[in-house]
Amino acid sequence: MMKQILFLLCLTCFSIVRAQDVVETFSGTRVINGHSVETLKKRLLEFRIEHRFGDIAGANGGVQQFFGFDQAADVRFAFEYGISDKWMIGLGRSKGSGEPYRSLVDGFTKYRFMTQQKNGMPLSMAVMGSASISYMTASTDLAQVASFPKFSHRMAYSFQLIAARKFGEHFSAQLMPTYVHRNYVAATDVNGLFSLGGALNYKINKTYGIIVEYYHNFNPSGFRSDTRNSLGVAFEWSTNGHNFKLNLTNSRGFGETQFIPHTYANWLDGEFRFGFSISRNFKL
């Protein structure tokens, strides 16, 4: 009898505790280069401007290039939109880093299917799929990836699972297992590439935060020996409706189909660059 009463009491207690969604695991829909678990709210249109300068140091940096500010490694403009509070889409155009693509159009969709809750679900999770196409003039050098013998060779895709957790008010962490497929690659490369991303976010206060993001590629033995893993650190500044990120990263291009398989710069050689992203939200 006593056990039954205790069971009923426990049941009552659990039903009284209302699970509450944990919000702002990351500020904004991007960590640094890659996606965060966050999605835009319904009917919110976001205009994004993202920029990566040239190398700060190394052979192509230094004072002659004004620490990379004379160059633009890549620039992306995009419109992104929240179809529901959990589902968003985006369409962007980027200059392309030239390694190997230029003139890119990308599109993506992201769906958040799980939300961390106080006294409930321990994680927030989302899936993201993206595709990019280069409309650059094909190279006449057939040895180049950018020679694009077929139209489909201009295309690349990525699929990502995003799992994030907020630990208290200040600290959040995220894992991003990712698969990238490029239709046309060099002989020393592979079409399908697995990568595991990780990100940490520390909110100093409501306005400022620090972010680290790293993607570790699982390159098959003997392939892709000239590539590097993407690593970025950022200082974040959030205001009412704006989110600024000032970052340093060794990646040049935007989008999972670019920065995951096509990062060649080495932090240790000073080949990292300053970049920023600015986003502005409009309610439709």
Binding site: D21, V23, E24, K41, R43, E169, H170, K203, N205, K206, T207, N240, G241, N281, K283, L284
Partner: protein, 345 residues
């Protein structure tokens, strides 16, 4: 058998005669129950008062339902098609309750409003409730002229114009089409005041039920009725308190402040429901508001509560201000006391 038929026939006759008589009874003959359920508007009309300028003879429930949709969602459905949203940024219920906000319908004491909100699970909003707005005769009162200028001239004595002003400017939306305004007015009519809402005394109820009233009685009863609810709500805009005289929560009641924070601030800010700024009961939110307490900027609770922000090109979404009647300085101090508590200062 004949007896049973006779009794049945007699009872039926009594019911039919009784029903037909009750339909044509004058006010003086209304029994107490009917009187309680009568609309304040109809009783005032029968006492010889001028009809309301926006009077609606009978509620059209279909229109009232569309009005309800417009008020709660900003759009409705006509012939299976979604109507054009009134505003991209707000719906009416972001700033206005639709339920009763005071135990005493004639009160506008903000402390009573908060107590009633707590008891009845209502948010503590900057706008006046739509409950009984049909019976009101004055809108955008007091200092609202400071915010909307001469636009309030046409809205002050017209419920329809007041709704249009709110629709276009307060909600950063557009003017309503005629059918939309009509639908909203029918919703208001559906939620008009009834005699039972006014808490009249036994004596006044008896006098209203009496069939032998003089002109003097009618005049007195009209005054009693009109004094039992608000025909208008006051609106006093307060300046941002000088930073040297701000009490910064000293002597404030954090329990009360928690209530205000959750029912006012978090109603819009929790999970960025209406705004871009997320606020919760955590230390980061508290520290953000506490850190800015001495400023004269939008981030200062002393400034934002009294001035709100303004809608502008590129940033139509804004925060409305709280008038003195909607949040007193004492309540603001309670709020700051709670902010100090969650900021752990």
């Amino acid at each position: 058998m004949q007896r049973i038929l006779f009794i049945t026939f007699t009872l039926l006759t009594l019911v039919i005669v009784g029903t037909s008589l009750s339909g044509s009874r004058e006010l003086g003959e209304i029994d107490r129950l009917d009187l309680s359920e009568s609309s304040v508007e109809s009783v005032l009309n029968q006492l010889g008062n001028k009809p309301l300028p926006h009077a609606i003879a009978e509620v059209d429930l279909a229109k009232a339902k569309m009005g309800e949709d417009l008020i709660f969602n900003g759009f409705t459905t006509i012939d299976g098609k979604k109507s054009k949203r009134i505003s991209s940024y707000f719906v009416c219920t972001d700033c206005h309750n639709t339920a009763r906000e005071f135990e005493d319908a004639s009160s506008e004491l903000t402390a009573n409003r908060l107590t009633f909100a707590q008891k009845n699970g209502l948010p503590f909003l900057p706008g006046s409730t739509f409950w009984g707005i049909y019976n009101r005769t004055s809108f955008y009162n007091g200092d609202y002229v400071k915010k909307y200028g001469e636009m309030v001239d046409d809205a002050r004595n017209s419920l329809g114009n007041a709704v249009q002003l709110c629709s276009k400017y307060c909600s950063s939306g557009r003017y309503l089409e005629d059918w939309e305004l009509t639908a909203i007015l029918h919703y208001f009519k559906k939620n008009e005041l009834l005699v039972k809402d006014l808490g009249l005394s036994e004596r006044d109820m008896a006098a209203l039920s009496s069939n032998s009233r003089s002109e003097v009685d009618n005049s007195r009863l009209s005054a009693v009725l009109l004094g039992s609810y608000r025909q208008s709500y006051s609106a006093t805009f307060l300046e941002t308190m000088d930073r040297n005289v701000r009490p910064y929560g000293q002597g404030g009641n954090p329990e009360n402040g928690k209530l205000i924070y959750e029912k006012a601030c978090m109603f819009c800010h929790e999970n960025k429901r209406v705004t871009y700024l997320h606020l919760d009961n955590g230390k980061l939110s508290g520290a953000f508001l506490w850190r800015n307490r001495k400023n004269y900027s939008d981030q200062s609770i002393y400034q934002i509560v009294r001035h709100g922000t303004y809608s502008k090109v590129g940033r139509k979404q804004y925060m409305p201000l709280y008038t003195k009647e909607k949040m007193s300085d004492e309540q603001l101090n309670d709020l700051v006391a709670y902010i100090k508590q969650i900021a752990k200062k």
